[in-house]
Amino acid sequence: MVALATQTISSMSNTDIEIVVDDPTAPEENSPAVASTRVVDIVVSLLLLALAVTLGWDNWRTGASWDSTGPQPGYFPFYLSVILGGASLYGLGAAFVSRREATETFVTRAQLRRVLAVFVPTLLFCLATQYLGLYVASFLLIAGFMRLVGKIALWKSVLTAFVFTAVMFVTFDIVFDVIMPKGPLEAALGR
């Protein structure tokens, strides 16, 4: 997605190198809005309100009053849920009357497309980590993302992904002994 100006580091000795990076798939300026900030603000306020009610109820059930030893476990969080609920209610009201937020764009269609172009692969990566292990998933994510989203040459994408994943494996699994989720491939290789 970001094309590169081809310039070598060798020109560094001239103490001045020009760096130009283009972004041909940049979101267009005039793309239509998907949602206004007001709509999102209202939805978020409602969600927070629901969360506050749920958590408040749960804490009430746990016990939000006083007993002989002091405040019960639910006491502190119960009153926090009340504060959260109150603030979200206020936010709901404020969002309804705000004229500024009504005209403000939360995200345009072109922007949303780009955001999803990162979010969806990330989601798939998490899924793959669960079943294939982190290292295989990370190889797939980097190679796939560079090739499909970034339109970078296949060999560059695969090589970068392999080198990065290998470095991560050596750093974490071998040198620092930090264990990551592993899948069938690692099992087959006996790690």
């Binding site: 997605m1 970001v2 590169l4 100006a5 310039q7 580091i9 560094m12 103490t15 001045d16 020009e18 760096i19 130009v20 990076v21 283009d22 972004d23 940049a26 999102v40 603000d41 969360l51 958590l55 749960d58 746990t62 030893t69 002091g70 405040p71 476990p73 006491y75 969080p77 926090l80 849920s81 504060i83 959260l84 603030a87 936010g91 404020a94 939360f106 995200v107 922007q111 780009r114 955001v115 990162v118 979010f119 692969p121 990330t122 990566f125 998490c126 982190l134 990370s138 994510l141 980097i142 970034g150 990065f164 994943t165 991560m168 750093t171 974490f172 620092f176 930090v178 990551m180 989720p181």
Partner: protein
């Protein structure tokens, strides 16, 4: 003078080949993180934290704090060369830094930025060296009510002094405090807010939330923007460095003013962003030649950079002395301290002398090494920007996932991180600040414990928070700060009513 001796001891702890190497690695990673779009100080520290889990605490904190200094230095590079502030606190640096680069004075601007960063940090570290032990000695007398009052003060000052809509700060903070309470209750052993889920038993880990909120959401946000850039990367020659340094004494007022502003705003939770703007604006206001600001004036680089770094560094003072972080990054370092089994707060100075003075000594050393490193390697770091974002983005995602998983070895945490990524993206776009959330999440349990212990001590009487002069003053101050906007408005209207009557 005791501080001085301990500091020397701290240097002795540091001056081993291994620590110096870790310092360099940390600085390079930090500058890298500061230069790259979509990453910043807090994210960098959070993502790289797992690397340090197997180290001893002193090496770990040295490396992490060096990542932090590196990120502070790195932010200036992109602001000056490309007019892209790598960090929010370097926005003010672009005002005069970029025009200077366009006039072909990039090397001068960069030298000015790095040097003033160094000076700002140095002033703040000096402050920490002499003030932190005093504050912590004082704080050793604190009981639970005093600690709760200090926590309350921190939270209230965020609400009262923050620039965001008040209800949004309250939402962010109460949500953080609530999520901190999920899982096993430390006092009674009872389960809270887990809804029968075994995964939630562990609670919501602070670092997992931070990696999602800052790392993942930042990538989503970056993708919305146009990622094109154009600029010149200049190497810095020794001649330029010396000529800038020779002129330095001329600007001592600006440097001093910005350092003071930065230190003050760093200790109170105002943050480096506010400090950099305030430093710039004051330098402009006090200048005889206000017109020339914004057109490439070297003072316009000195002022915000000094303030931002003084603030970023002094944010560590309340963290070390009281266990209360002054900024998002300090909050993450605090989270790290807990992972290594250190209890942040005044006892740290008594129980872990080696650690604390090693950290403080590393601030001095890290800044000197960092200054030399950035001055010599600017062109290399600037060319990092040529690496396509399509290659950088998935690598950041992978690093985030590794970081999130390594903390508790739980797959659930990777999903949690993704969830927090979406939450962070939406929150940032509708103006719910994330800093109070971070702070509340890391302090939540300790604030609650302090509250419950003081309540148990007093038999449920709220008057315990006004039981002596110290705790009463702090609590009252906290409540005053909470309602500061209202009080401020009332005061102005009162003075307005009084004045015409006099006239």
């Amino acid at each position: 003078m005791e501080a001085f001796g301990l500091l020397l001891h701290g240097f002795a702890v540091l001056l081993t080949g291994k620590t110096l190497l870790l310092m360099m690695v940390g600085l390079v990673l930090g500058i890298f993180v500061g230069v790259l779009p979509g990453l910043g100080g807090p994210n960098g520290v959070a993502i790289l934290l797992p690397l340090t889990f197997t180290m001893d605490p002193t090496s770990a904190i040295v490396m992490l704090s060096c990542i932090y200094w590196g990120a502070l230095f790195g932010g200036a590079i992109t602001s000056i060369l490309f007019n892209i502030p790598g960090e929010a606190w370097s926005v003010a640096t672009t005002f005069d830094g970029y025009p200077m680069a366009q006039q072909g004075r990039a090397a001068e601007a960069l030298t000015a930025a790095f040097t003033s960063s160094f000076i700002g940090s140095l002033v703040a570290v000096l402050l920490i060296t002499f003030l932190a032990p005093m504050i912590s000695t004082f704080a050793l007398k604190f009981g639970p009510p005093e600690f709760f009052a200090v926590y309350l003060l921190t939270f209230c000052s965020f609400v009262g002094l923050g620039r965001e809509a008040k209800h949004k700060t309250v939402i962010s903070m109460s949500l953080g405090l609530l999520l901190a309470g999920v899982g096993m209750d430390t006092v009674s052993g009872q389960l809270r807010m887990t809804f029968g889920s075994a995964e939630l038993l562990r609670g919501i880990n602070f670092l997992v939330a931070v990696i999602g909120l800052f790392g993942i959401s930042e990538i989503l946000l970056t993708m919305e923007e146009r990622l094109a850039l154009r600029g010149h990367a200049a190497g810095i020659s020794l001649r330029v460095v010396l000529s800038v340094w020779k002129d330095l004494p001329k600007y001592w007022v600006t440097l001093l003013r910005s350092s003071v502003i930065g230190c003050w705003l760093g200790i109170t939770p105002g943050g480096a962003i506010a400090a950099s703007f305030m430093g710039y604006n004051l330098a402009k206001r006090f200048s005889k030649d206000q017109e020339s600001f914004g057109k490439g004036r070297i003072e316009g680089v000195f002022a915000p950079e000094t303030a931002a770094h003084a603030s970023g560094t002094s944010a560590l003072l309340p963290m070390l002395a009281l266990g209360i972080p002054g900024s998002g990054t300090a909050a993450i370092l605090l989270g790290g301290l807990m992972v290594w089994g250190l209890n942040p707060g005044p006892l740290l100075f008594v129980e872990h002398k080696d650690f604390v003075w090693g950290l403080i000594a590393s601030m001095y050393l890290g800044n000197v090494v960092g200054l030399v490193l950035v001055l010599t390697t600017v062109p290399i770091f600037a060319s990092i920007l040529r690496v396509p974002f399509a290659a950088v983005a998935p690598m950041i995602v992978v690093s985030c996932a590794i970081g999130a998983y390594a903390i508790q070895n739980a797959m659930f945490d990777i999903w949690l991180m993704l969830g927090f990524g979406v939450v962070g993206y939406v929150f940032k776009k509708i103006g719910i600040p994330l800093a109070p959330f971070t702070l509340a999440l890391v302090l939540g349990n300790r604030a609650e414990d302090a509250f419950r212990l003081s309540m148990i001590g007093s038999g449920g009487d709220m008057k315990v928070f006004w039981s002596n002069g110290l705790v009463g003053t702090i609590t009252t101050l906290a409540i005053l700060l909470l309602f500061w906007p209202v009080i401020d408005k009332a005061l102005t209207s009162v003075t307005r009513m009084v004045r015409p009557a006099k006239a």
